[in-house]
Symmetry: C2
Subunit: 341 residues, 2 copies
């Protein structure tokens, strides 16, 4: 039987109320008494019961805001599923989640959403942040107002509770490693990326470039195509680009809209057979893997990312638990045909 505040109260010869006040550093306790209580708690190895704490927490409803300000692709759907899963788990603690979606990469619009949620009284916010000074300032402002912020999916430079998501720089390195492994030492690579307004996409590209330079100096990065997050638009842009890069033998696709790009690849006549490396595991990618077009895909576990952001915010806001690290990285893994079929 684990030790409770009641037992500590007995041992210290005080009431549970005093123990509670002492252990949680609340005001209104004699310094000496508080010290003695803490010592006793320490010596008996007291650990507060999170379940009971949770039951109590239920009394004040907590609202967590979510802002996903990017087109809704497979990745985002999975992310949302993860958020929902976490929500289900913590609903019993009286936590409510309020989500806002937006398309495009407009900082003003993102800021408007933040303000909306603040008006609705959120206590915490999970956001895929645009890399814009105004957004940074706004998030700093929230922090000052006591609203806890967690970044997800893409990290930017702002002081907040934590960033939860993949290490995208490493993701880029892994892609680079795969390119080297599959394409050989002197292959020619074309890199397709989602818009670089999302800083994570920039970092990923950096990772790739660094690996190529460090470990595969003979690989030639023919070009970088920044594609719109829309299947048709991406298709058109990619089709044009690939004509220019006909001597490519490795194509990397890190956009959310793989479908259009994959079509463009299949319709382009390359000089040799191309290896294709993609990001995540949407249906189009699976199908392309099935028919041998895609050799490997680098997965970022969006479901887990969504689940973890909410859990992190919940643990802090409701349970008072500070995350172990400011960077909560989700693994970046590699899947091949046999991983799925």
């Amino acid at each position: 039987m684990a030790v409770t505040i009641k037992k500590i109260a007995e041992l210290a010869g005080v009431s549970v109320g005093t123990v509670d006040r002492a252990l949680n550093n609340r005001k209104g306790v004699n310094q000496e008494v508080a010290g003695r209580i803490k010592e006793i708690a320490d010596s008996v190895g007291y650990v507060p019961n999170t379940v009971a704490k949770g039951l109590v927490a239920r009394r004040k409803e907590v609202k967590i805001g979510v802002i996903i300000h990017t087109p809704k692709h497979a990745f985002i759907e999975e992310l949302l599923a993860g958020i929902q899963a976490a929500n289900k788990k913590i609903a019993d603690y009286g936590v409510e989640i309020m989500a806002r979606y937006g398309e495009g990469y407009d900082a003003d619009s993102q800021i408007r959403m933040i303000d909306e949620l603040v008006d609705e009284g959120i206590h915490a916010l999970a956001i895929i942040p645009l890399n814009d000074k105004r957004v940074v300032d706004k998030l700093e402002e929230l922090r000052k107002r006591g609203i806890t912020v967690a970044l997800m999916v893409s990290d930017i430079d702002v002081d907040c509770l934590a960033y939860v998501g993949c290490d995208l720089y490493r993701g880029g390195r892994i892609i680079g490693g795969l390119a080297g492994m599959l394409g050989g030492r002197d292959s020619k690579v074309v890199y397709c990326t989602a818009p670089l307004e999302i800083l994570g996409n920039v970092r990923r590209l950096d990772g790739l470039k660094d690996v190529l330079q460090e470990r595969y100096p003979d690989i030639h990065l023919l070009g970088v195509c920044e594609l719109q997050n829309d299947d048709l638009a991406a298709y058109r842009q990619a089709a044009i680009a690939f004509k220019e890069y006909r001597d490519a033998d490795t194509i990397v696709v890190t956009t959310g809209c793989t479908k259009g790009v994959l079509s463009a690849i299949e319709e382009t006549v390359f000089e040799k057979k191309v290896n294709v490396i993609t990001l995540d595991l949407a249906k189009p990618v699976e199908q392309a893997m099935a028919r041998g077009l895609v050799q490997a895909t680098v997965v970022q576990h969006p479901f887990l990312q969504g689940k973890k952001v909410i859990e992190t915010l919940f643990n802090y806001v409701v349970m008072g638990k500070v995350p172990d690290s400011k960077k909560i990285y989700i693994d970046t893994d590699i899947k091949i045909y046999e991983s799925i079929f």
Copy 2:
């Protein structure tokens, strides 16, 4: 504010006790009343509060037994860490974990451990089962006695709550796919495996063979070395085997004791440069990756496996939640140099 049994009691014009009895299908409730209560609960979308449930559960201490009957390698250490992590999370519910370790692959010894734990009054058991009829029978017996059993790491054919672990057959397929990807269509593969008393190891080998047959018919599986789970012994056995397989160009190491085998590889003069594919991410593997000996490693997330088994048992025994599936598969992923460095 979510709906509680109290509110349902009000709506139905009965007491909370009756609602509790009705919703949990306990005896001693009028059929009609029970039906009405269930209807009301349904219509208002009642979801029991797991936190409150947990607090109550704390009154009767629950014991979960753990049997790890295999040498303690890095994989097992991680598995244990996962079990401990889960334990920490559920200690607040009054759950205690009692672990037993054994070396070797002796079914009698494993059965003895099971009996010991049963004598100590466990309510549930997580076990890495040996594939032996007597073990199967013993586990069936536990089930009949009302002790919930979950298998971990290696699946065998016995009716229990669930198997939690990787799909090892798929793991074998992934290894096969990697071998094909790295070694080329006509490479020569040597496969080193941990003892085949653990059925999972057999399944993994099956997966590899099937993939080679289906997708890489020209790859030649030179030989299968069943190595002991002891670094020195494995080293000696492997060194002898590799002399015979000097024309190999791909070596797969799926033993827990990679260290000995990796040394043996480095000391053997192969006819060409060999690609090495390993299992999991122990220190020796990392180091070998760093110096370019190992190209890829297939990871099985032992930490997660351990965490998940305990959570699954807990959810069933304490919270009454039946797992969604009898097979709870943990992802099998691929890591390369850039995944780590």
